[in-house]
Symmetry: C2
Subunit: 133 residues, 2 copies
DNA sequence: AACGTAATGTTATAATATAACATATTTTAA
DNA sequence: TTAAAATATGTTATATTATAACATTACGTT
């Protein structure tokens, strides 16, 4: 009876809650700071929770920012491929919904490379900032 | 007479030499270790050289690996957009030559986001490793 | 030559992440 | 239902990656 599939532990839930209520990606030590009132005391507790959340696809890491963001999609179960739009003005990060994996798979195949997953970080100006500037 | 355009300083050249002769991306402290015989003594000297080399497009950073790689292209002057194929078996990293910026620009425009630059890291299996396994 | 800019050298420290180990909790399966 | 296995926790210490601050030096421009 593996109902453990979707069951998060206390620390994992605590970290996920913080990320889901955050408007921007958070850094690990910012998460630590925010969760200290909830019993998390050491960096490792945060990193371990993040590792698990990333593994099950609930959280993604923005590599170029060393930051973490909760996934808003229904099923990023794989916890693998990610595509982000990052606003250079307001730091807003949104996940690109459109599936671009097949495109990358084709591009890779052209040079005889077997695509497995990807991380894409697109920088630019979001619609909000365009309007206000 | 601004011939300084392509003139690298001693530290910059030292760091670039190491990266160009490396077969894989190198981490900053690995570069430091390798360049100590050439007079570079502190991390900051490496990071400053890297910053400049990245700025002028001679070097790229692989964000998901905290590693640096010399650019093999003629003109990555911009030092902005990068696309890599990273082998999960042998860690070989190659730059995707085909220009994918226009594709991203279109994808971004669909959600009213002004594309400026990107970083793409594709993981998979390189042709060599496919053949040998 | 004198000024402004960029690069250097050096020490210290900040920010990000993992190792190691003891303990506790949960899951699985005999 | 309980013992073994697997997973998560708590804690301290430390490794890894990167920047701050400041004094000095080299270099291009006028």
């Amino acid at each position: 009876m593996s109902e453990a599939l979707n069951t998060l532990t206390k620390n994992q839930q605590t970290v996920l809650d913080i990320l889901e209520s955050a408007k921007e990606p958070l850094k690990a030590y910012a998460i630590l700071f925010d969760t200290q009132k909830k019993g998390i005391k050491a960096p490792l507790q945060v990193y371990r929770a993040l590792d698990k959340l990333i593994e099950i696809g609930k959280v993604h890491k923005i590599e170029s920012k060393n930051s973490y963001i909760a996934c808003k999609h229904k099923s990023c179960d794989a916890g693998t491929s990610t595509s982000f739009l990052i606003c250079e003005m307001c730091d807003l990060v949104t996940e690109l919904k459109k599936n671009v994996s097949s495109y990358f798979s084709k591009q890779s195949a052209e040079v005889n490379f077997s695509y497995s997953k990807h991380n894409l970080e697109i920088y630019g100006i979001c619609s909000n900032c365009k309007r206000n500037n």
